[in-house]
Subunit: 497 residues, 2 copies
Amino acid sequence: MTTITKAACIGGGVIGGAWAARFALAGIDVAIYDPHPEAARIVGEVMANAERAYGLLTMAPLPPKGTLTFFNSIAEAVEGADWIQESVPERLELKRGVINQIDAAASPTALIGSSTSGLLPSDLQAEMKHPERLFVAHPYNPVYLLPLVELVGGAKTSAATIEKAKTGVAQIGMKGVVIAKEIEAFVGDRLLEALWREALWLIKDDICDTETLDDVMRYSFGMRWAQMGLFETYRIAGGEAGMRHFLAQFGPCLHWPWTKFTDVVDLDDALVEKIGAQSDAQARGRSIRELERIRDENLVGIMQALKSGNGGEGWGAGKLLADFEKRLWAEAGVKEAAPDTSAPLRLLDTRVNAAWVDYNGHMTEHRYLQLFGDTSDALLRLIGVDFAYVEAGHSYYTVETHIRHLGEAKLGQRLYTTLQILSHDDKRLHFFSTVNDAETGAALATAEQIMLHVDSAAGKSAPAPAAVLEKIAAIADGHARLPAPEGVGRHVGQKRA
Amino acid sequence: MTTITKAACIGGGVIGGAWAARFALAGIDVAIYDPHPEAARIVGEVMANAERAYGLLTMAPLPPKGTLTFFNSIAEAVEGADWIQESVPERLELKRGVINQIDAAASPTALIGSSTSGLLPSDLQAEMKHPERLFVAHPYNPVYLLPLVELVGGAKTSAATIEKAKTGVAQIGMKGVVIAKEIEAFVGDRLLEALWREALWLIKDDICDTETLDDVMRYSFGMRWAQMGLFETYRIAGGEAGMRHFLAQFGPCLHWPWTKFTDVVDLDDALVEKIGAQSDAQARGRSIRELERIRDENLVGIMQALKSGNGGEGWGAGKLLADFEKRLWAEAGVKEAAPDTSAPLRLLDTRVNAAWVDYNGHMTEHRYLQLFGDTSDALLRLIGVDFAYVEAGHSYYTVETHIRHLGEAKLGQRLYTTLQILSHDDKRLHFFSTVNDAETGAALATAEQIMLHVDSAAGKSAPAPAAVLEKIAAIADGHARLPAPEGVGRHVGQKRA
């Protein structure tokens, strides 16, 4: 797998900044060039949004964050970079000039992606010395959350470049979708444009207002498209008779005089003002920041829901997330050194997710157990019980858990968990975990748990192998010197000593 | 609130059958007329899908299911119905004839909704004696899950009819969105048609195949549209500069020669075959039934994710679901008689949801605690601690939980929970719950828990009021005569006696 070790972002606005954030959060150092006086502030804001979103999206162990460094010239920024992403304003001459400068200064093997949403890669690469490594890599807002990248090659782009580009975006958790032929606006913006034109007519003609139109989308086909797109949805609509039958039925109405987008709507001042006023009313006083937060939390929630889809295998953007997380876990496992056993192990750092709170904004009871479960999963990886181990037929199952609630956690609150091994034998693992507030260190909940090593196929307990038992012993020996945690060995309702 | 007590469905295909399922699952008896020889089978299949989807979607207490009765004439079916839904094939003369028959036979105050996806209500009501009660109620597939209903009145439809229609669809968990002016295909299908035309060109011109196009949608703007629609999404894109600024930027490109839908694509045999073959490849051998199952589970997951959105208040289709559930709980509370205390209370009947399982298809550990939490919530409602009580400032918080895992639950498995009160005083409530397999009755997990009555604002325990304590005592007195459950009072790891 080709890996990006250093990236350069030329142009650091909302799009370029989000590319930078994606790279840095995947552990890749990023060089940035943007002459805009506010570039550092804008990139910083996008980075903060991206970090918050990742914190909600995944509890997989992100690698140490890559650095963000600003440079005063394109030549300095692209030096040593193996992926250079151009995100300057959407004007052909400007982009071509910038790309030519990148081309001249960068290593000839570096990949050059353009964030253009409409210009043809053949036009962008026309004057390059090494045009074969130029391609369009068109992302979607919010770029730090939505995984799509349209990959489009021009006449001179090599097939190898497109393959490397696919691998590259996968490295930062994105989905590279290859468009077969270059056309202006590619595929996504073509579809968006079609819907947008018709929407403008519906507002102009007073068929509905902007809120009604949005409601029509989000209470119905928006949810269909979020997980299956257009054709697979219609395949189901065709039923057992199939896609061809569906098309035969749907075909004739294309000739009916329905849609108005065959005329170009005049987006004059009156229409702009009408839409602006309706949009203001629809927002109900929510600021752009608030809407952004709501949108990001919703997108996180949708991706997490899709991660559990298809019987737990994951579906669409959720499957992509699951695969990304598996890789992060695998890489984290490789890097892990012998743990410090002079204190309980600190195993999880997280934040209270929007999906975890009740209507009072407090973390729901069962999410504490989720955190305890993720904590014991982290311990299992430390002792060699990882995905591969489980797939080979053995695992540890929790048989008993005693939780005490000592405080409350609220939306967005930073938390960490610790774990201390209490006792163990060849089958049993007995330990005590704590969920703590990250600022004060105060314990919000504790769990005493016992897990049993099992043969999954037989559905019976079985002794763990020596390699696992040795790793357990190494931690348990250290923990045996620690005092027993307050609250161990109690039954429900037992008075404090 | 106007309530529907009896509904009639004239036409019982996939759409009519799903209307029938929605009504029946909301406790409303349904009369069906459909001369198709397979009508009963089709309605039965849709009903089964709907029941499965509802089982995944919500654990709120559905009322006793309404009956489905088939009749041999329209006149018999509509007798006594206060909502009549017409879902016959999409031909004006056919629909008009059916609607005229309904009009003649039904009570003059009965509402008549048409499921048409494109015909004008003014045309449908032209020959009616009581045209003021005719409106379009256009739903979206799968109708038993997607909540949208476009409500469109014709020239003779009364404003009161549209208001009653909104209330009526809310009663069955749907969202009535009123379209201001009637046009062919209303709002949703106009937007779908625009995107569909452009999509057909992209396939015909070999810009991409159907899978690529679907991926472009579902990894990006599909997820935006599922929760915010079009205009609110672009409002954010405009940033602090606002919607008007965004429109000013976007306006000019409407005149660019991008989109091809200004020409009508010829959906000839070659294009039908091309799309059919690409769609076959994309399905990877999955049957329509499998795709339907995946889609429904994804839609359930998205709606559940959105239910936790907006800081726990719910957003879009998720807010609608939350409101629907609140009403179901409130109505269930009103109807509940004094509980039978001669055995542990049976409080929850559910099925293992797709979002609850790990990659092995087993219910994840923390979902057991979710079931125990839902079980104790059900107990709280029984003793008068409902939404209103909590909003007024007091509640019970769980302080301690001891779970033992005795078995496993798999995707789709039916479960029920029981609860036995062990002890109580003016602040504490100590009880023992069990998650059982619904077929064998075997206990899969047990939980011993203590909850404390609290003053939420003060964040301190406080005595519960007499009315609550009386209800607790009534149950606890009965439960005191039951044997102590096996496993009470144990600490983690304690050997069995």
